[in-house]
Symmetry: C2
Amino acid sequence: MNIINDIKIARQRIAPYIVQTPLIRLPSLDSFLGCRTYIKAENMQITGAFKIRGAMNKAVSLSPQERAAGLVCASSGNHGKALAYTAKLLGTKAAVVIPYSAPEIKVKAIEALGAEVIRSDLSERFAVAERICAERHATLVPPFNDPYVIAGQGTAGLEIAEQEPELDAVLVPVSGGGLLGGVSCALKNMLPGIKVYGAEPEALPRYSRSLHAGQITRVPQQRSLADALLSQEPGSLCFPLVQQYVDEVFPVSDEYLLKAMKLLLTEGKILAEPSSCIGIAAVLQGLLTVRPEEKVCFLVSGGSVGLSQLDQLKDVTL
Amino acid sequence: MNIINDIKIARQRIAPYIVQTPLIRLPSLDSFLGCRTYIKAENMQITGAFKIRGAMNKAVSLSPQERAAGLVCASSGNHGKALAYTAKLLGTKAAVVIPYSAPEIKVKAIEALGAEVIRSDLSERFAVAERICAERHATLVPPFNDPYVIAGQGTAGLEIAEQEPELDAVLVPVSGGGLLGGVSCALKNMLPGIKVYGAEPEALPRYSRSLHAGQITRVPQQRSLADALLSQEPGSLCFPLVQQYVDEVFPVSDEYLLKAMKLLLTEGKILAEPSSCIGIAAVLQGLLTVRPEEKVCFLVSGGSVGLSQLDQLKDVTL
């Protein structure tokens, strides 16, 4: 598959439905990070995260018959919200499979977007989603391991390259690798000299290990404050892209996630969920050496965070 | 004085020292406000507020001898911080007069920027500042009623006009009127068809009353959550500009300030102090009628807010 072309096509297709999020220069962070700081604010994307890019690209690429039969996914997070919104915007149905263990507030948010919510056991959720697809002839929209989803997420990379072509490096959160795979492909094609890095929770170092091993390596399920980055292994379509286009992936500690979130909020004036701050955290933790004159962009992937979650930042020291 | 020219000169002079803050499209606020929402993010300005524009323009317009004798102001807030930073950047001295009643955290922030802090009684602070100026042959930098300060603040208006020339209206917080006077002058000169509105605390309706009376009218000192907007009367240099260039000034309730702050933070993902959210509050309160297709920009003037202040938002309903 010719990914960079797919990303450019995706951009045209999803343009009517998404916003070009701002790329913001944040000089107030420079002294903390040791570089010229930029963020790509996907927390200001429609539905509050980049996920709408991939879900929408998948949906608009379906035939009218396929689209009318509905969309299905298993996600209580940003992907589920994005799929529900996509279906609403396109006038079709979405069914979102959510584990019994997920908080009621997430269920309500997805129902509020008009989607059908189907509860299941945590371990059963993907099987339930596939069964529903089969029964209804509906389309499964995977969270990352799908060429249309990857191409959709990659559109954020095209925007970054146009908005600030003088960047030296971009840091991207990674879980399954749909965002990192697509964005790194777009960036390296548009700006050959740029460095692209991933950042993942150190409790789930699936990309660090897989890259080191040269093959997809599964890690045990662990908890992390980066609750949007809990995949146990790279997507099979994402991994080769990351191998080809990403310079390094850093495993980041939860402690630095909270520092990064506090820094971005109190100094940068931008609210983002912990998972989204993992690139900033990687630099704070000293995993990547940057220079004061370097222009470094942090892709801030989402902003799903409630006010009560900010209490945990009060005792965090920068 | 030819203000628009002064504003253009100011822009050249202060360009090396400030940042062009982003003008951000925030579609997530559209359904709440009933218009196409943009913000001019002066909370992301150096020192966290627009105030550096005016203070810096005053300082760089002094002769080398004047500048070397130092800068003085009476302000424990954003203006004091901006002046301290200006002096540090230009390699001169700043003395900032702060009332005994001001919180210690503000004193520390200004001292950390290298300024001398002089404590005084609240009612004596301006007299103390003037006495220091006389003793040291230093220059008083007023918070708003000064042509260089007004021209400096107006540079934010030039940026808005260039960044989004298709805007229908801009809402600006107003206290003494330096920001509103300068920005409205810039906007009306650059984009003749645009509407410019001010928003002030309803507890201190100094502009609403003065505009109605056709002359500067003093209001009693009152408290408001908009703690950066507590001036009792319009500046004598600012008032004629507001009369000439501003379409209307709205008195806004504290209740809607908090709603606006919560909306901007939780939906827009942007942290701003209550005073800065007063334009959004004016629309939420129904004081200005807007249409869904109208492009409305809210100047978000500053971001000086601590995490503990966010607790008061938890019980606020949108």
